[in-house]
Subunit: 382 residues, 2 copies
């Protein structure tokens, strides 16, 4: 029998969310072309909203894989995935007017729970992850982060009442000022108290200037913003949490980092060294507290990493930093589809499967942990 | 007998260079305090030139370790380093007026060669790396990159006539527009033809906005710009080289990447995946050529990595990506000195020693390769 495979990194744009994006004209938005032969375009990165590009070619083409759960189930079957923990795709409501945030978060989270319930009807009620069952779903909730913290806290508590919800997905902007914002403390407290995993995911990447002279970003399509900007955004966000003492104040907080931590496992040593050499921190003779816990401790006690890093080299760093019991298979579906429609297996998925097998050589137990057992245990999937 | 130890990542500010920086008032510059009890300050990062900070506290304190080679030799003895390949410290003359660039590069490279000659007099002329000898030095040259490419090419050729020069150090701005600038092709050609290693090193980091809301960068001292900005600058620069086809056009180019590649080993898989999924490239149906060689091939055939990554996790990624025959010990001296003057051993150095031993467990041959044999072979040190 093949091992249980759980995908913890897989996104959906529920139909109601798509409709809202269709009604917008500012990033993020969906453009429906006048010519019905053309496919709709999703413009979610500000660098994609280039006025020099015709609207019908801006952003990326979207198809039913973005909103139709049957397409996701078919993708799961194709790739041997038993269970997906679906999460709202970026940018997670941070553009919604504050007074509408609660309504939208409630609507989307209820929709996610209903979708899971509908799909899971076909599964064994006693053991939804039984390997001979049809595919099953769980979900991570979205938070109304444009609203005040107490509204966010209420939604975190409400998510615990929805049977298929397992933790939350969050971008890097927090309440608008990043994840080291002290106003987020009630949110961290609620996440810690309810034992809710927070899936931290990038969306904004880096400002265009980071990549060099104007025009450089677009010269190579999405490669620079997606391959480098996204992972750095995650790394900066979690490093700011660390530096501001979030993990000191909330030592039981559980954070799943997208894309194997962005670059955190690789840069952890340099971050730790820079902290130890920082004259601004009290430990270096300054007046800023600085973090109290070592980054290595946080990596092994608070951080979980998905295994979406497309190579053995990245996985070796991830597993060395956090351990094979904290690494979780994911696909990033529906993003990175094959460019040719003839390809049934998605190279973006098979690359990660191969990397996991290569990284753990003959350690079958570690492979099984990473592919599904860790997720089932950590997210209490049953 | 302990293994040969070669430090390939160690910087100097020759006295003439220091004097030039003292005469400047714009970044980069050295500020000599009016009060002689205070130490001079080196302001090389634009984020350090914050007008709200008094001049006497701006940037970082500098001491004789920056320019006095006897201090470097003493540091080498303290840490068991047999040979250092010294390189000019950032930002490598890119701020120099074009008409003065050649003069400055010539002056500095001659100075570096003379310094090596003076120090190496004490060594065995037949085998300067004999382990029972005094410390020896080699150097990497600086290039007049604010001048036109033909001036740069001339200096690359001239460096081959200086007996202690081994390759060049270069920042990420190239001739002002980054390392994917086609005007650099004659420079890559000269480096390839003369078999000169190019040491690629960051200096500018990322723009402040990359780290979030205004003020975030300084909130944690130098941690964000140095721990995250520097490695990303390197990663962006080498990725732009790759994407623009530099390694296709110059397949024998040798590039040593600072800080174990910034984040390149970790992100290589994601970069490769994004390239394979890029619709703008010809391979994806677009009209931009895109790179022809795989990033994994470039990592094993063109890239060398220093071992300045302060942890086993980063080293595991580096060695998986490039191999233990391409990883080279370094210290980043004179940066990251101990904050307490009582500490004789620099934690920034001992952390890297420990990481190398931890990463290779019982593989004594690999440890010896990384600590010195690779550098001796690759840089032809004898």
């Amino acid at each position: 029998m093949p091992p249980l495979i759980v995908d913890v990194h897989t996104h959906v744009y529920p139909p109601a969310y798509m409709q809202m994006l269709r009604e917008r004209k500012a990033v993020p938005y969906v453009h429906d072309p006048a010519n019905k032969d053309e496919v709709p375009r999703l413009i979610i990165l500000s660098s994609d909203n280039d006025p020099s590009i015709p609207l019908d070619q801006r952003g990326r083409p979207v198809d039913a894989s973005y909103w139709n759960i049957d397409v996701k189930l078919s993708f799961m079957r194709q790739h041997g995935i038993n269970c997906s923990v679906i999460s709202l795709a970026n940018p997670w409501l941070d553009f919604v007017e504050p007074q509408e945030a609660q309504t939208w978060a409630g609507k989307i989270n209820d929709d996610l729970d209903a979708t899971c319930a509908r799909v899971n009807q076909a599964a064994d009620p006693e053991n939804k992850l039984a390997l001979d069952q049809k595919e099953t779903l769980f979900a991570m909730g979205a938070l109304p982060l444009s609203a005040p913290a107490d509204v966010v806290v209420n939604e975190i508590r409400r998510l615990k009442t929805l049977p298929h919800l397992r933790g939350v997905i969050m971008g890097t902007s927090g309440l608008g000022k990043g994840l080291d914002d002290a106003r987020l403390d009630p949110v961290w407290e609620a996440l810690q108290e309810t034992d809710s995993l927070m899936f931290l995911h990038p969306h904004y990447g880096l400002p265009d200037e980071a990549f060099g002279a104007p025009g450089v970003t677009n010269r190579y399509g999405h490669v620079l913003p997606l391959a480098l900007g996204f992972p750095l955004e995650t790394t900066i966000a979690v490093t700011r949490m660390l530096l501001s003492g979030v993990f000191d104040r909330f030592p039981k907080l559980k954070v799943l980092l997208a894309h194997s931590g962005g670059t955190l496992p690789f840069l952890a040593g340099r971050i730790e060294s820079c902290i130890l050499h920082e004259r601004k921190f009290i430990s270096g003779g300054g007046d800023v507290p600085g973090p109290q816990r070592s980054i290595w401790e946080v990596l092994k006690e608070n951080i979980y990493l998905d295994a979406v890093v497309y190579g053995k080299a990245g996985l070796k760093a991830a597993v060395t930093a956090s351990g094979s019991d904290r690494l979780l298979f994911g696909t990033d579906h529906p993003f990175f589809p094959p460019l040719s429609e003839e390809e049934k297996d998605w190279p973006s998925v098979t690359t990660n499967y191969k990397a996991i097998h290569a990284a753990f050589d003959t350690e079958a137990e570690a492979v099984a942990d990473v592919l599904g057992r860790n997720a089932a245990r950590i997210l209490n999937l049953k």
